[in-house]
């Protein structure tokens, strides 16, 4: 069984230790969203797993092989940084060929996968931000890998491209490990199966997203008729009757009571992202 294992890894730059004694083991191919405030150490963590930075201490192993020392194992992983890392003077096709020459791979497959065929003869520096991001992401799909490290892959791209990228990753995560850092809590909740929370270079939380518990849940209920009589404790906010509950399981009972009382419900939604509370905790 494939697995990524970090054992008491400390890492950083020069004498500046950014990651402190971090241990983590992931064994199930899936999407792992790495969350954390700015400066928490997400990029340093990715660079360390990716073999770019040598850990000060501890080990990063993939399938029992030390990722820093084994070039062969490093070829099984890929890292997408927040910079696009594409030679700007090249055409899209030449840029992909450039990387294919260095690390091997199928340029045609990438052109199709990321809808780049019509852009292949365009100079990279003439493309829009979203198109540039697609090219940059393209280079990590030149070859099949087992572990994908993606540092904010949907930053600076429009919702359409963002969704395309997420769809590719969701498909990929069926049999690959995808570590995905993001500042977007809604995106994290939508795409992630697991959540890894980093703060001050330390692991603060690692579990399935569905297991993230909140102290309170704010539920917004939109009704076509006035239900203030049925929900006297609710506050009206932007056309939603907002109630606060301790558990999502309580929502079904509230809805049943409302329907029985004659409410014509149009929408019921969770107003806050459960990851928000976790993200902001001290």
């Amino acid at each position: 069984m494939q697995k990524l294992e970090l054992t008491e890894v400390s890492s950083g730059y020069g004498r500046n230790e950014v990651i402190h004694q971090l241990s983590l083991k992931i064994t199930e191919p899936s999407i792992y969203v790495v969350l954390g405030p700015n400066g928490a150490g997400k990029t340093t963590l990715f660079r360390t797993i990716g073999g770019i930075l040598k850990p000060f201490s501890g080990q990063v192993k993939f399938d029992e092989s030390d990722l820093f020392y084994s070039k062969e194992t490093r070829r099984r992983i890929t890292y997408l940084s927040h910079l696009n890392a594409i030679p700007e003077e090249m055409t899209v096709l030449d840029a992909l060929k450039y990387y294919a020459e260095i690390e091997g791979g199928d340029v045609d497959r990438v052109l199709d996968l990321l809808n780049l065929r019509e852009l292949k003869d365009s100079k990279y520096n003439t493309l829009s931000q979203g198109q540039k991001k697609r090219v940059s992401i393209g280079k990590i799909f030149l070859r099949d890998r087992d572990l994908y490290l993606l540092d904010e892959p949907t930053s600076n791209v429009d919702p359409k491209v963002s969704k395309e990228i997420r769809d590719i990753l969701i498909k990929l995560s069926k049999d690959k490990f995808v570590l995905y850092s993001s500042h977007n809590l809604y995106e994290a909740k939508e795409i992630g199966t697991y959540l890894i929370l980093i703060r001050n270079g330390q692991l603060k939380f690692f579990d399935k997203v569905e297991n993230v518990k909140m102290k309170h849940y704010r539920i917004g209920i939109k009704s076509l008729n006035d239900i203030s009589r049925l929900l006297p404790e609710a506050k009206l906010e932007n056309d939603y009757y907002v109630v606060t509950v301790d558990s999502p399981k309580m929502v079904a009972g509230i809805i049943n009571d409302l329907v029985r009382g004659g409410a014509e419900l149009a929408e019921v939604r969770e107003l806050d992202n459960p990851l928000q509370e976790l993200f902001e905790e001290d």
Partner: protein, 231 residues
């Protein structure tokens, strides 16, 4: 196509100005080295011994032309570092020495191609205007050996200083040029003092500089940490 070859092509595309200046300077050096047979005979008897000075000046100029011709490689190095390309290359399994070697090879190949062209051109023109074959051969040997060693040392020095700088401007490059050129001065000055041993002195110095450059390259591959290549 290999990494260094792509780097060479990209360097030419990045800055044609340096390439053009390099070629113009090389042509100027070629003219200078073949000017002697065209000079009036009485000029040779002046206190300044043009017989020695002209060919050796051309060696210096031709070496400088090779340096300028290969300068875009180091500019590309800084650009690629700042652009995150090295970060990605490191993640693919290359280490810092692989990256350094790629740029040094590109630089040496660019310089060698210009020097080879210039030597052939110089020999053809020299034969045509009547420059002695011994002098042409001497210029060819000195130009190639000094030119290649200068480019090697300057490229490695510039790469080292560009890697170590904290700012992203490539501002340390001139420092690399200065330090890289200083050890070459004796190769340009000593032959004027000991003209009879010019060939031996310069070839020996070129060999020493080449060895020092190889040593420096291998050292920076080990001593400069990977994090220095990150944007």
């Amino acid at each position: 196509m290999t990494f260094w070859r792509v780097t060479m092509q990209r360097s030419i595309n990045l800055s044609k100005t340096y390439v053009i200046i390099g070629i113009v300077l090389a042509l100027y050096g070629t003219i200078l080295s073949n000017l002697l047979p065209l000079l009036p005979t009485n000029t040779v008897n002046t206190p300044i011994d043009l017989t020695n000075i002209f060919p050796l000046l051309s060696v210096a100029i031709l070496s400088l032309s090779a340096l300028l011709f290969s300068m875009p490689v180091v500019m590309l190095f800084v650009y690629d570092k700042n652009n995150g390309i090295f970060e990605y290359l490191l993640s693919t399994g290359l280490d810092q020495l692989d990256i350094f070697k790629g740029y040094v090879k590109a630089s040496l190949l660019l310089a060698s191609s210009l020097l080879a062209f210039v030597i052939v051109l110089n020999t053809v023109i020299g034969t045509f205007v009547g420059t002695s074959l011994t002098l042409l051969a001497t210029i060819a040997i000195l130009t190639f050996s000094i030119g290649v060693s200068v480019v090697f040392l300057v490229t490695v020095s510039m790469i080292a200083f560009s890697s170590l700088q904290k700012t992203r401007m490539g501002a340390n490059q001139p420092l690399g040029v200065s330090l890289g050129i200083i050890p070459v001065f004796p190769a340009l000055i000593l032959p004027f003092i000991f003209p009879s041993y010019a060939l031996i002195i310069d070839v020996s110095l070129a060999a020493a500089i080449l060895l020092a450059s190889i040593g420096l390259l291998l050292s920076i591959g080990k001593l400069i940490l990977r994090e220095k290549l990150l944007p």
